[in-house]
């Protein structure tokens, strides 16, 4: 198992290299001379430009600049934000935690809801319960995540049940650790719910189909024939085999979750990576855009790695290969 994981990690190294190259090229092959534009900007002090020139080799050819940039990334220097006048790494670190919290929360909520619902629908196949659930899933799949977020914000504004925007309430400074945690969670609930609702439909459908397929397979017939109790047949034999392909799906879904999270963050005003990259794009803060893009890709790779490890743990067939 360890060998498998090490091999997967090594496979990601060239991918990481490609990622840095692509994020760099996207920004630098753009029409217009970015560096001249920087010098023209009165908000950026000559000292900052001189420092960047030194660190990033901005006056050198594009390819050389790339190596400067990679060298800086390896030492966690992602440049300085022109809009905020602080190091980008600092900005990203602050936001990254919130995005990860939101994504993890919604992944957990989605899975914990979608899997039982999928099993339930599969067992009620043909009954009205399945029809209702599947129709709801269809609506959920078709509703854009930003629209769900808007509707929830609208509802929250009307009912005043949940706080909208930010991560903390006003009383934050005087609160105990536990109170802080609860407060953070309360703020997380609105974007978290939006993201969960956006993702639950497709996962539910997959789970239902997988479970139905598992129920129809010969080993279930065998298990039933040898007189195993139905609970055991369903939740030991069928469930395990139905969940397995879902873990593979997790890697694919992750891209959507991260994108959705960024968008939902913007709508619900949750200070995460989404807001950061949007602000960076709007203020033409290109080094921050580059860094955010890279971090987004890195998150995705990390998530895929976790999915791989989970799959190895869940499926002995891969472990033995």
């Amino acid at each position: 198992m360890r060998r498998y994981i090490v091999r997967r990690v090594l496979q990601f190294v060239p991918l990481l290299f490609g990622m840095t190259l692509l994020s760099f090229l996207i920004i630098h092959l753009a029409p217009g001379d970015y560096f001249t534009q920087l010098k023209m900007n009165p908000q950026i002090s000559p000292e900052t430009i001189a420092a960047m020139e030194r660190n990033f080799g901005l006056d050198k050819p594009v390819l050389v600049q790339y190596f400067y940039w990679v060298k800086n990334i390896l030492t966690f220097n992602l440049g300085e934000s022109f809009a905020y006048h602080v190091p980008n790494a600092f900005l990203i670190k602050e936001r990254l935690l919130n995005t990860v919290a939101l994504s993890v929360f919604s992944i957990m909520a989605t899975w914990m809801l979608a899997i039982p619902l999928g099993i339930y629908a599969a067992r009620k196949k043909g009954c009205w319960q399945e029809t209702v659930l599947s129709a709801a899933a269809y609506v959920g799949i078709s509703l854009p995540s930003f629209f769900i977020a808007m509707l929830l914000v609208f509802l929250a504004a009307r009912t005043m049940v949940l706080p909208i925007g930010g991560t903390t309430s006003i009383f934050w400074t005087g609160a105990s650790l536990w109170e802080k945690f609860v407060d953070y969670l309360r703020h997380l609930l609105l974007p978290g719910m939006a993201l969960t609702l956006a993702g639950i439909g497709s996962l539910y459908r997959l789970m239902k189909n997988n479970f139905l397929e598992a129920l129809g397979s010969p080993y279930i017939l065998t298990a039933r024939a040898k007189g195993l109790p139905p609970v055991l047949v369903l939740y030991k034999h069928a469930l395990r085999n139905a969940v397995n392909p879902m873990i593979t799906i997790f890697g694919y879904e992750l891209s959507g979750i991260l994108s959705g999270a960024a968008l939902v963050e913007i709508i619900t005003n949750w200070p995460g990576m989404g807001r950061l990259i949007l602000d960076a794009v709007l203020s033409q803060d290109l080094y921050l855009v580059m860094a955010s893009l890279l971090i987004g890709g890195f998150l995705l790779i990390l998530g895929n790695l976790i999915a791989d490890i989970l799959l190895v743990m869940a499926d002995p067939r891969i472990r033995l290969r």
């Binding site: 490609g18 092959l29 799949i141 609208f154 891209s255 991260l258 994108s259 580059m290």
Partner: protein
């Protein structure tokens, strides 16, 4: 065509209905000028955030009118956007009320806002009809470009194999390691913000196609890899056909049943991509409407959101369109699946 329709209808009623609805949606987009009561940029400043106008058949005296009518609108409180129906002024809804060019309307000074007005007092219904042109067309154009790219690159990569294949597939992998939203924004950032509307429209299409081709190319490559071992490919090669012809005429058509389904199911992605960019102020710019930029004012603006929930109707339009394409795609998958024939 007729046989296709019969089979689709037999396999899946929702897909049939979805196809009809989509047809109607595209028709309304085409006829937007004719069907909308007002031009999309026409501002009625005094009626900002006015709620949807109610259509009546029975007036305040209890008399029935065969021709539906609307009441005049009185401004009760311009600061809090309160409006009231004025029961003394009654405007019947007429065909061609404002000249020959618009089918429905009321005689001025009556106003008909079927879905209310936005902050500048522009009729949301008219704007939705015009916005449909952008939002609906961008999906089709974007999908065509990225599928052309995906088919050609996937086909070439799978057919030739070797180093070309390795390079192309690494590129695909790298593109797919970025969350698409981040990539969308980063690509948008690298272009100057101040360009004309048409350029912007093309830019959005190109950006989305640049992201979208990757996943398709990978799947097509896989299919081509197995198809190129088939005997008909050997036959056409021994007949001396050019490689281009073999790929485009013999191999790619065999991926058709998959491609059509995937194409239908990926159109919503383009519609959502455009709305997302426009929603964030990076896409189609005012005064031209798109379903995305009509929603942009609601982002982070709780006052408008609670005061005028009808501002959210473009979101419903996106939802209906996306759902129709999903239904159609699922239906097509069943029709195209050879196991179902």
């Amino acid at each position: 065509m007729r046989r296709f329709w019969q089979r689709l209808w037999k396999k899946s009623k929702p897909a049939g209905v979805a196809l009809i609805v989509l047809f109607l949606l595209y028709a309304t987009a085409l006829l937007a000028n004719f069907l909308s009561p007002y031009p999309y940029e026409r501002q009625f400043r005094e009626y900002s955030l006015c709620p949807p106008t109610r259509i009546h058949f029975i007036d305040s005296q209890g008399r029935f009118h065969l021709r539906p009518f609307v009441y005049g609108i009185t401004v009760v409180n311009p600061a809090f956007k309160r409006y009231r129906e004025d029961h003394t002024r009654l405007y019947p809804i007429k065909f061609f009320a404002e000249g020959r060019r618009r089918i429905l309307g009321v005689e001025p000074p009556g106003k008909i806002f079927l879905l209310g007005t936005d902050l500048h007092g522009r009729d949301i219904f008219s704007r939705i009809l015009h916005g449909a042109r952008i939002s609906l067309s961008i999906g089709l154009i974007g999908v065509s470009i990225s599928f052309l790219l995906g088919l050609i690159i996937g086909g070439v990569s799978g057919y030739f194999g070797g180093r070309l294949d390795t390079v192309l597939m690494r590129l695909v992998e790298i593109i797919m390691t970025f969350p698409s939203f981040y990539l969308l924004l980063a690509l948008r950032a690298s272009f100057k913000p101040n360009i004309s509307s048409l350029q912007l429209y093309l830019l959005i299409v190109i950006i989305m196609s640049l992201i979208g081709w990757a996943s398709l190319a990978r799947i097509i490559r896989g299919m081509v890899l197995s198809l190129k071992e088939e005997e008909f490919v050997m036959a056409s090669r021994s007949l001396g056909l050019s490689t281009f012809r073999i790929i485009t005429r013999h191999i790619l058509p065999n991926t058709f049943s998959y491609t059509v389904t995937a194409l239908t199911l990926s159109i919503p992605g383009y519609i959502l991509g455009e709305s997302t960019l426009s929603l964030l102020g990076l896409g189609i710019q005012e005064p031209y409407p798109s379903w995305g930029n009509m929603l942009s004012i609601c982002v982070g603006n709780l006052r408008i959101l609670t005061l005028a929930p009808w501002m959210l109707t473009p979101g419903l339009c996106i939802f209906v369109t996306v759902m129709c394409f999903n239904f159609l795609g699922d239906g097509l998958r069943e029709v195209m699946d050879p196991r179902n024939w």
